[in-house]
């Protein structure tokens, strides 16, 4: 479990977070959303012990991440949006890095890689950007850490790989793991995540499970000029409008993350009252 307690953080004078409180539980896949510059990556870096809070604390399994305790780091894997891999063979990389992760599974690694049509015979630096990302993500999943953080994991993946990404993440998930995915490509993860956390203006502005969201809100299409009464938020679409409404007695609808995100940013108070 990760506990973020009264966190303040800023880059020199520019405040990114003020008194931020947040918890991440086991057994869930979190989608972390926010506008460009909202602080998604900063929050992930703070959780990974790569940045230090000005005030407050980030705790992972009882360890203060500021201490970078090896026992905490052995149970955590972070896949940044952009990264460099050393100029070695993939096999060498595995030999050097797998020992840091006590639950590392070679079987998982081979299974994930073969899903992407890859194996470990390559040299890491000769791979394209997308291939590198796949290789590193497979290694990350195989590390079997309690916490897996991925920043924009589907960026740069080709079309079939996005579907493969969902398959491998879904198959590697367990009740003991926490996976946090920060992304703008919401369609890529729409049915994969359990929980949505939205950061805006130095704060957490929305933090709910998908079950809770689809229980209380419906995402539906309305024809031109026929916006239903009680709509919280509407945006134009090809047939008229896409609308977010309180569910009431209506049939449940699938979650539309893009619409939810826009609704939360535009009508935060109205959305909050639905969940009050």
């Amino acid at each position: 479990m990760i506990l973020i307690n009264s966190l303040d953080f800023g880059y020199s004078k520019h405040k990114v977070f003020e008194n931020l409180n947040l918890t991440f539980d086991e057994g869930k896949i979190y989608g972390l959303l926010g506008l460009n510059g909202a602080g998604k990556s900063t929050l992930l870096y703070l959780m990974g012990g790569l940045l230090f809070a000005d005030n407050g604390k980030v705790e992972f399994n009882g360890f203060d991440m500021r201490e970078r305790n090896p026992r905490a780091l052995a149970d955590l894997f972070f896949v940044p949006e952009e990264f460099e891999l050393p100029d070695v063979k993939f096999e060498t990389y595995i030999k050097l890095h797998a020992p840091f992760y006590p639950n590392f599974s070679r079987e998982t690694l081979d299974r994930c890689l073969s899903g992407f049509g890859m194996d470990t015979s390559c040299r890491l630096n000769r791979l394209s950007m997308g291939q590198k990302k796949k290789a590193f993500m497979c290694f990350a999943l195989a590390a079997n850490t309690g916490l897996l953080i991925m920043d924009e994991p589907t960026n740069g993946l080709d079309i079939p790989s996005k579907s493969q990404f969902r398959q491998v993440v879904s198959s590697c998930m367990t009740d003991e793991r926490t996976i946090i995915i920060s992304t703008h490509q919401v369609r890529d993860v729409e049915n994969l995540i359990d929980h949505i956390t939205i950061i805006n203006d130095k704060q957490i502005v929305f933090n709910r499970s998908v079950a809770d969201i689809t229980d209380r809100l419906v995402f539906t299409d309305a024809r031109f000029g026929q916006r239903p009464e009680g709509a919280i938020y509407a945006q134009p679409s090809s047939v008229g409008e896409q609308v977010v409404m309180p569910r009431g007695g209506e049939q449940e609808t699938p979650l539309n993350i893009e619409l939810l995100f826009n609704a939360v940013l535009a009508e935060r108070e109205k959305v909050a009252t639905i969940f009050a």
């Binding site: 198959s171 998930m173 995540i193 689809t214």
Partner: protein, 120 residues
Amino acid sequence: MDFKESKPIYLQIVDRICNEIVTGKYPENERIPSVREYAAIVEVNANTVVRSYDFLQSGDVIFNRRGIGYFVSEGAIEKITAMRRESFMNEQLAEFFDEIDMLRIPIETIVELYKKRNKQ
């Protein structure tokens, strides 16, 4: 798996599993994939598949053998047909009636067309 916009994902997965049972991919009394396996197949969160399996279990289409997994019930195909008949009567047929009312098509015309079709 490609999902439609309007129907809850877990019910779309229910439909998919029902089709697989009806077409014989998962025969009666045989094991179906675990929740995690099925979640990976359709690329969704495992909790969504848990809901689908709960739904199918409450309809006696599948049953759970503790520690072993989920199995297709005896007579599952008939149960699926009954379930679908009920949802057709409650949903599609109601929409159909609304539509013919709006277009002012008498039900007799529909009955005639139906009889003609069955003679061919």
